[in-house]
């Protein structure tokens, strides 16, 4: 099955403010191709509300790396924390942003 690479957290260090980032690393050439494609898509979706921003794509040694803005926990994690049930209010708030 398709796995596009490993995901790590990090911080931007040459900035005055503390920028939290996510770093996606491709470990094979197939992963690298997928990473480059994903970066292209995120570039094309630049400035679309509700889509994480890609900050950088490049190579570090033999690894292809993409750096993204770091957001909060996923809804999977939130769902676990909320004992596997969301209220109708929460679900419709989510739906409002995604489909309406």
């Amino acid at each position: 099955m398709f796995v596009s690479g490993d995901v790590y957290s990090g911080q931007q260090t040459n900035s005055q403010i503390n920028v939290e980032v996510v770093i996606k690393i491709a470990k094979s050439s197939r992963d690298a191709a997928a990473l480059i494609k994903e970066h292209q898509i995120l570039e094309n979706l630049h400035n679309v509300c509700g889509i994480p921003k890609a900050l950088w794509l490049g190579c570090e040694g033999e690894l292809h790396v993409m750096v993204l803005e770091r957001l909060g926990p996923s809804l999977a994690a939130r769902f676990q924390a909320c004992e596997q049930r969301f209220s109708l209010n929460t679900v419709t708030l989510i739906a409002t942003q995604l489909v309406s």
Binding site: M1, G10, N14, W56, L71
Partner: protein, 228 residues
């Protein structure tokens, strides 16, 4: 001015996401607590030409795309995916959040999951839920391969439900009320039963306390990161 939904926006820019699931919808940071984000475009696809808007042709015989638990029935059937599948995935996700589960979670093999998806009538899947969720699912299933989802209709379904809430203006998510909020602002991977695709998320609990093994790389904007 009409505010476009994320899905409509992504589709209007010629892409389909193809892997909408709880793990790929992120919540906001402290700066954007009332937002969710559609993340991970790792298997997204351009479904039409950006200039001519000519739709990709229908194919079948394609291995299941996305994540087993939330995959559309078309995806099980080996079909090329299109906008309608993003709507179907989203319907499953919303129903999952309300029900707490889906009948095919934990079913194990792909064939059984498909059997349960096909065999569970929308009435039963959505029993006890506001009728709009069934309508959203039915809308996705009624669309032809190249057909544009009726985003306004989907929007009206959601607005209709919100109008019935005790406080339609309540914009706080459940986790804002919860005492169970994870201490870390980062996601830990949650493998819903039946997920066949998962991202390895090696995210330390506290990023602020940088371990000694941290390596600092000289990126153009330099980043340091852990767990390499």
């Amino acid at each position: 001015m009409v505010k476009l939904s994320y899905l409509q926006n992504v589709h209007s820019r010629n892409y389909i996401h193809r892997d909408i699931k709880p793990a790929n919808i992120l919540t906001g940071t402290q700066d954007s607590p009332n937002m969710v984000y559609l993340a991970d475009f790792g298997i997204a696809k351009q479904y039409r030409h950006p200039n001519t808007h000519i739709h990709i042709p229908f194919h079948d015989g394609i291995p299941l795309t996305g994540t087993l638990a939330f995959a559309s029935i078309n995806s099980h059937m080996g079909a090329e995916l299109s906008r309608r599948d993003d709507v179907e995935l989203l319907a499953y996700v919303l129903i999952y959040f309300l029900r707490g589960s889906l009948p095919w979670l934990g079913a194990g093999d792909v064939d059984r999951v498909l059997q349960l998806k096909q065999g569970t009538h929308a009435d039963r899947l959505c029993s006890g839920l506001p009728g709009a969720f069934k309508l959203i699912l039915e809308h996705s299933c009624a669309l032809a391969f190249t057909q544009r989802p009726d985003y306004n209709l989907l929007q009206s379904y959601i607005y209709d439900i919100r109008a019935t809430l005790p406080d339609p203006n309540d914009t706080l998510f459940d986790w804002h009320h919860s005492h169970l909020i994870p201490s870390s602002p980062t996601a830990t991977p949650v493998t819903s039963n039946g997920c066949v695709r998962s991202h390895k998320q090696t995210i330390p609990a506290t990023v602020s306390s940088v371990p000694t093994s941290t390596r600092v790389y000289a990126f153009p904007v330099s980043f340091k990161f852990d767990s390499i």
